[in-house]
Amino acid sequence: MALIDLSKREVHCKIVYYGPGRCGKTTNLLYIYNSMNSNAKGKMLTIETKGDRTLFFDLLPLNLGKIKDFDIRIQLYTVPGQAIYEATRKLVLKGVDGLVFVADSLRVRRQKNIESLKDLKKNLVDYNLDIETLPVVLQYNKRDLAGSPIPTLSLEELEEDLNSDLGVKAFQAAATKGVGVFETLKDISKKTVRYVATKHLVKPK
């Protein structure tokens, strides 16, 4: 649910990084946070349980500059991936305007990726949202491990498992090194802003 403030000429959009636990969602946000200029970012908020697992969400507010005279403010959220946090995961999706589905390239996580995408689709339906119309991109993370001794999924397998129905743009990433992180962010931001703008700001001729 975007918030459009005509008096301040601001557009606020919510982008959620979704995916199974440990796939690298928080790592994406941390990399963005650490690379951005301090006037373009707000405070990063993370709510953690014991260890390094996200309990509720991470939040990173960004200021993306102007488009057509409007200041674009984006809130990046991540969800807690583990199955037991189903209720909180769904809450974070409330009012989402754009989605990044982060998949884990580790072969042992193959089923977890598929389940998480199914869970996402179901939660969207409960909010009357449709994954076919919302802006969505995929990110295949931990590509740095391909070619290492650790068994990983091939790109073909990831595409087959996760993108055969969706048919959206997919980015390869190694979030710990920052590879693909900004490519993903730029693309989803552009799509999300365009989606919100065509709904509200662009008057049909």
Binding site: M1, I4, L6, Q75, L91, V92, K94
Partner: protein
């Protein structure tokens, strides 16, 4: 959930109403937010140390979580929430289906007064933003 479009006059009206009722009654800060965690308007003392973005995100999530709890025990919703601190307290109230009013106040203001003023404000703000249908 529909997108919210704010116009200058509606925001101005809402701010005036909040100011005349809650801020005049002595509360520190009032935030009007939506359920996605966006700040719609802020009034009162503009505390530089107050991280409004985080507060709004947490309040929206907290409100969502308690709504789920309400459903689990068979209630539709809790329409208001209150957290009491040693010095400052925080009061949340639902405005229409889309917004939440957050009031932060010190121990010199009574909870009863805040409740009364918030109750009056709720319907006024709903009217201003057309949330009352």
């Amino acid at each position: 959930m529909a997108d919210i479009i704010l116009t200058g006059p509606a925001l101005e009206q809402a701010r005036t109403q909040i100011d005349e009722s809650l801020v005049q009654a002595g509360v520190h800060t009032v935030l009007l937010i939506d359920h996605a965690g966006n700040v719609v308007a802020s009034c009162g003392k503009n505390r530089k140390d107050l991280d409004m973005t985080s507060l709004a995100a947490l309040a929206a999530a907290n409100f969502g979580a308690t709504s789920q709890m309400a459903r689990i025990i068979g209630e539709d919703d809790f329409s208001l929430l209150f957290h009491k601190g040693k010095k400052d307290s925080i009061h949340f109230a639902k405005i229409g289906r889309e917004m939440i009013l957050i009031t932060i106040f010190g121990d010199e203001v009574s909870l009863g007064l805040v409740r009364l003023r918030v109750a009056e404000l709720t319907s006024n703000i709903e009217k201003i933003f057309g949330l009352d249908n």
